[in-house]
């Protein structure tokens, strides 16, 4: 079934590029950073309102929250699975925390319970995928709908009520005059750099993603690692959800809608692949930033907000096409 692997003397440019994502780890970060800077520069020159500290600050703040959610998501993609339930888990965890706070819980117990629920959802996703070998794309569409239903129940119960004041302030916590989520993002990127470069776990994830049967033959605990990745995906989505709930101050049924598609697009732009074996959290962060700049630019240019979905859709199609073509040529 697999196309016969040619034993070529040289390596085609495409292969070299592909290998760059794994072997010469992170080599496509620089071009991506250059594109991002170019887009920012273009907006800064053409739009006076762009390069203001308040606009840049709010873009970075938004990206830093979404970034929390893409951490686990990226690593699920490395194992050649996908978790489309992130947007719903994001919403449920945020609203559950808010609901518990409205019911006079204190913050940490509320957040921990909500994150435990998120972890459970991730475990169920991973367990079903591993145990019954279900296609994670379809399975997590199911979880996405199911969890969205639960989130909507919470939203209806709260009925637009704002969260307690202490919680509304939570996302605006500053450390050294910088939003705490931005600091978390920077620390996480440094952590990811070490994790991806050095850790045995990340290598095993890459092995699983590139050839799951090889990984099995090499005694790698494939099932355990995949379940772990799905749990990480839900928990990081949950943490981002808690910050977002605090930021938007009330329960909103629109919260986290379509987030999964932003994640896929950003992760692939950042070097992950639908065909597994690759992924780079630094690239995912840049992908999110690039998308945020594009959307911000559209607002600056007074393009109808309804057009945002169109652009996200178009970018998603473009990235998965690019990903698939590259993958096929590499084979």
């Amino acid at each position: 079934m697999t196309p016969s692997q040619q034993v070529a003397e040289g390596v085609s440019p495409v292969r070299r590029f592909r290998a760059g994502g794994t072997g010469g780890f992170g080599s496509n970060i620089l071009p991506l950073a250059a594109i991002t800077v170019a887009v920012a520069a273009f907006l800064a020159v053409t739009q006076p309102n762009f390069a203001t500290s308040s606009n840049l600050g709010s873009i970075l703040f938004g990206v830093s929250i979404d970034f929390l959610a893409i951490i686990g998501f990226t690593y699920v993609m490395v194992t050649r699975e996908i978790d489309l339930s992130v947007g719903s888990v994001f919403a449920l965890t945020g609203m559950l925390t808010g609901s518990l706070l409205v019911a006079d819980w204190s913050f940490w117990p509320a957040a921990l319970v909500a994150l435990a629920v998120a972890a459970l959802i991730g475990f169920v996703n991973g367990f079903l995928v591993v145990r019954f070998n279900i296609n994670s794309l379809m399975l997590t569409i199911g979880t996405m709908l199911l969890v969205r239903g639960l989130a909507n129940v919470l939203a209806n119960n709260l009925g637009g009520q704002t969260y307690p004041r202490a919680f509304r302030q939570f996302a605006r916590t500053d450390l050294f005059d910088i939003r705490i989520t931005i600091i978390i993002m920077l620390v996480a990127i440094l952590g990811a750099w070490v994790f991806q470069r050095q850790s045995a776990l990340f290598r095993k994830m890459c092995f699983i993603g590139e050839n799951v049967r090889s990984a099995l033959v090499h005694g790698i605990r494939v099932g355990r690692i995949k379940i772990l990745a799905f749990m990480a995906s839900s928990v990081t989505a949950g943490v981002a959800g808690i910050f977002t709930a605090s930021r938007i101050t009330h329960a909103d049924t629109q919260m986290g809608m379509g987030l999964e598609f932003v994640m896929v697009t950003a992760a692939i732009i950042g070097g992950a692949s639908l065909y597994g074996g690759r992924g780079d959290l630094r690239g995912s962060a840049l992908g999110l930033l690039l998308l945020a700049l594009v959307l911000n630019g559209m607002i600056m240019y007074d393009i109808e907000p309804v057009f945002q979905q169109f652009v996200i859709g178009a970018l998603l199609i473009a990235t998965v096409t690019f990903d698939t073509v590259l993958n096929r040529r590499a084979k």
Binding site: S199, A200, E210, V217, H218, G219, I220, G277
Partner: protein, 507 residues
């Protein structure tokens, strides 16, 4: 009937030859699958092609069926030289070993798929079933044309598939192992169908491992060995022994003078007790002692392949036990078995065993990442050192430890895979087709590595369809046939004839 003789001399061709191969050769990379094969098939006969695994049967069939073009030589159909695409479009029909039926459609629909009788642009259902019933009656088959295929026995499904080929008006039918997976009764029905087809004027090219069936049904038998033509025999008065001798051919010198008497005292390192998997293998018993190399041989469909995967937990067995050093292993997953000191070389490196887009160093260290790590972080220097050691030890021809496997030749890829397999310093090693598709040099090096491991007291279990390889490597050979253990041969009794008689024989 015209007798088909090998076309050694370029003389006048007999009028009756429907198919002729002249000096056909085909290579896959460094592997020469066919070398100068020539033979003729007469019109209206049942012509069997016989050979061990890897003798070149499938390649020959693919060439005749027009799936691939030979590198050299000609294929004549009805006396005219043809191209692969002509043969593909022409009146040759092949029924593959694996069933290709529409399980949820009726018998009649399966037979006439793509050629349903129509009336006014719609399928004429009445005529469809009438014609199917007629066809079935013609061959004395008692099958309801409205039956859904899923509810038929495998034998009946196979028959429906053959009838589909018959219905396509093909004059040459190729049947590849049509009776594998059928019980004796079903096989008998199928063979009588094949005879009726011949009597009705069809020519049948028949490939089977079952010697008694071939002797039962074929008019002529062409034997291939190691990609070369051996002989075409007329089926009168020959017996299984004659065929086996020709399939096996050469006389190899005695293998490694293995002293199995010395090994008899060594402790049992690996044992399989009553392992079964529904439909694949039953009640397997096996012991391998420290320092021993045990070969497992079975023809395609014997269950040997599934058995090899089950003992490493890749496909979990349905019942039975595996013991390592006398200790039963409860969790039969690859990770757990590996943790207990077992290691496995996958039989097909294209499918699994390598990561084509990761460096040779990463490939070799894949099973031992945890050992090369501290606090969960991989010591990259150790990974490189380890790889350099193995590159030297196995003489892997690679630009450096950072090279990618996809840049290497098959033999060097195989050596990378063997390095990874031995990296854990396992006590029990399962090698699956250890030298499939590698050149002679790499083959010798892999064999040397296997012997060295045995000399260190490791227990080796080698699955191979390459019988000479097993004869040279193993202290004893366990043979599987029809999903069961068929017997065991050791020491001086290990000859190709003896093994083949157990693997392909009648009982």
């Amino acid at each position: 009937m015209t007798i088909a003789q090998p076309a050694r001399a370029e003389g006048a061709k007999p009028a009756g030859a429907i198919l002729e191969l002249r000096n056909v050769s085909k290579s896959y990379g460094a592997v020469r699958a066919l070398r100068g094969v020539s033979f003729r098939v007469a019109r209206g006969e049942i012509h069997a092609i016989l050979g061990e695994n890897g003798a070149g049967k499938s390649t020959t069939l693919k060439i005749i069926n027009g799936e691939i073009e030979p590198d050299e030589g000609e294929v004549l159909v009805g006396g005219a030289v043809t191209l692969a695409r002509d043969r593909k479009a022409g009146d040759i029909a092949m029924v593959h070993q694996e069933l290709a039926v529409f399980s949820n459609m009726s018998v009649a629909e399966n037979i006439f798929v793509g050629r349903m009788p129509r009336r006014n642009g719609r399928i004429d259902i009445a005529r469809l079933h009438a014609r199917a019933a007629e066809l079935l009656r013609l061959f004395g088959l008692n099958i309801d044309t409205r039956e859904i295929l899923r509810s038929l026995t495998p034998g009946q499904q196979q028959i429906v598939e053959i009838l589909r080929a018959v219905e396509s008006d093909a004059s040459l039918l190729i049947l590849d192992e049509p009776t594998s997976g059928l019980n004796n009764h079903e096989a008998e029905t199928l063979l009588s169908l094949i005879r009726r087809l011949r009597d009705g004027g069809h020519t049948i090219l028949y490939v089977s491992h079952r010697l008694h069936e071939v002797l039962d049904v074929a008019d002529h038998i062409t034997v291939l060995r190691d990609g070369q033509y051996v002989e075409t025999l007329a089926n009168d008065g020959i017996n299984e022994g004659d065929l086996i001798r020709r399939m096996v051919g050469r006389d190899l010198g005695p293998g490694v003078a293995a002293n199995s008497a010395m090994l008899a005292d060594a402790p049992v390192a690996f044992a399989v007790r009553g392992l079964s998997m529904a439909g694949q293998f039953h009640d397997m018993q096996l012991e391998v002692r420290q320092g021993e190399i045990v070969g497992v041989f079975g023809l395609e469909g014997s269950g040997a392949e599934q058995f090899s995967q089950a003992i490493f937990g890749i496909v979990p067995p349905s019942s039975g036990r595996i013991e390592l050093n006398g200790r039963p292993i409860r969790d039969l997953s690859p990770a757990s078995l590996m943790h207990s000191g077992m290691s496995y070389l996958n039989g097909n490196r294209k499918e699994a065993g390598l990561y084509m887009e990761r460096s040779v160093a990463e490939n070799i260290s894949a099973p031992i990442l945890d050992r090369l790590s501290r606090w969960g972080l991989v010591d990259r220097r150790k990974v490189l050192e380890r790889a350099q050691e193995d590159i030297r030890r196995f003489a892997i021809r690679v630009p450096g430890p950072e090279g990618l496997p996809q840049q290497l030749s098959g033999g060097n890829q195989q050596k990378v895979m063997v390095s990874a397999c031995l990296a854990t310093d396992p006590k029990v090693i399962v090698l699956n087709e250890p030298t499939r598709g590698v050149d002679v040099g790499a083959k010798a090096e892999v064999h040397e590595a296997a012997r060295a491991e045995a000399a260190k007291g490791k227990a080796l279990l080698v699955f191979s369809s390459d019988l000479p390889e097993l004869l040279r490597l193993a202290h004893r050979i366990v043979i599987m046939r029809s999903n069961r253990l068929a017997g065991e041969i050791r020491g001086v009794e290990m000859t190709e004839e003896a093994v083949m008689a157990l693997a392909a024989g009648d009982r």
